[in-house]
Subunit: 225 residues, 2 copies
DNA sequence: TTTCTTTTTTAGGCTGGCCTAAATACTGCG
DNA sequence: CGCAGTATTTAGGCCAGCCTAAAAAAGAAA
């Protein structure tokens, strides 16, 4: 049986792998809120599992084997489906869903998964715009630029917002910066660390000034201009 | 923090207490699928918890303290709300809900509880007719007789069906023996171990022959005759 | 290349929750 | 009352998953 701890390790390895390429013991420890020594111990066990769940060579980081990736994607599918379900069916706001999904993802049955998937109409994205792996564990990974990377004058559609910080999510929701919103970079301060952004399609849409910590967390599919 | 194991012990103690009065180490061990020695160990810990969760004297069984009962009722409220939610909102059949609720009951937040409670309209009974403790943890305990205790000719309303055995639940559902169904004892075989029961309010309702293992699991609120 | 810093691993320990086997306490019957 | 049989507890262990402190390896800088 795969324990909750193992599921979390695999999920985190997967996410780090796709964010920063390499996965170090330290980074993993930090993300998991656990001492580095604990990570080393766990990685050894995962590498000795049969079938092997990770490729691990001491001092050289870790990566998922196909078996490990399969489990990671199952957990991620659970997580994102649950997030969307909580929002759609139970009225959660998008800054609340992550915490609850974190716990539920490890306990729901295949049956539960199928039922909410059907109820939601086989959705493709969760409330933050993260793609939901299909039943067959295929995962679309559209790689859009960060809002902070857009040039003045460019505009596009918000595709995804990083879901780490509930306070930031609440703030963004207030501004209307949610997936599918239309954004236009009205101006860019010198050195590019502050943007003036118009939210909405019209030219009289409200405009806001956003700093780097914000604009780095928003991903935009460039469209117009 | 209260662990899942502790929650299960307290829940089981509560249930045994209300089924058979006294709660023995062995009975608890069997219900939990655990060795008796393990139960002894856990009971000691629960009795040393501050606040104390159980009253425990070696060789003399165990009972819940108010603090222990509070936790037990919270878990039971979770369990039964979830059962009903799974049935009403996700289309589970009543023989499937118990297994899923068993896992979910330990992880949902207060918020989740409130939301499904509201969505279901503050329900009073779960799919098997078990009462759902209120938010304030008040629990109605209507104590109706078992179907097996009815005399020939008596009739009544099914109030509750024991939820232990999914196969039995499926069988009963097929016969239409579910909470609120009307039942009449058409006949009783010698020694009372087999009943002929009419399911439904009309006098031409279908009648079935039921043995003791079945009739002991169905509780009836006597009405007519 | 050698040294210094940072990262990672080893070593040793702890807790929770379970186990088996063996000892002991209750209980009911002769 | 005493003894057999059952119920319960003690003793000793195991495993998962975490910890800290200390050692060792890797990598950067001089």
């Amino acid at each position: 049986m795969i324990s909750e701890a193992v599921e979390n390790y695999l999920k985190m390895i997967y996410e780090l792998q796709n964010e920063t390429g390499k996965v170090s013991t330290n980074a993993l420890a930090e993300k998991l809120g656990v001492a580095p020594a604990s990570v080393t111990g766990m990685l050894k066990k995962l590498a000795e599992e049969r079938p092997r769940l990770v490729n691990y060579e001491r001092h050289h980081g870790v990566s998922l084997t196909p078996a490990g990736q399969k489990i990671a994607l199952e957990v991620i599918r659970h997580h994102r489906l649950i997030e969307l379900y909580l929002q759609q069916a139970l009225g959660y706001s998008w800054d609340q869903v992550d915490a609850e999904a974190e716990k539920l993802e490890h306990v729901i049955s295949e049956d539960f998964e199928d039922r909410i998937d059907a109820l939601l109409g086989q959705p493709e994205f969760d409330p933050h715009g993260d793609p939901i792996p299909t039943k067959g564990l295929q995962l679309a990974r559209p790689d859009h630029p960060r809002l902070s990377e857009l040039a003045a004058g460019q505009s596009g559609r918000v595709s995804r917002v990083r879901d780490d910080d509930p306070a930031l999510l609440r703030y963004l929701a207030e501004l209307g910066i949610i997936p599918d919103a239309t954004l236009t970079v009205a101006g860019k301060a010198p050195f590019g660390d502050t943007l003036s952004v118009r939210v909405g399609a019209e030219s009289d849409s409200p405009s806001h000034t956003l700093g780097r910590p914000v604009t780095d967390q928003v991903f935009v599919e460039i469209q117009g201009k």
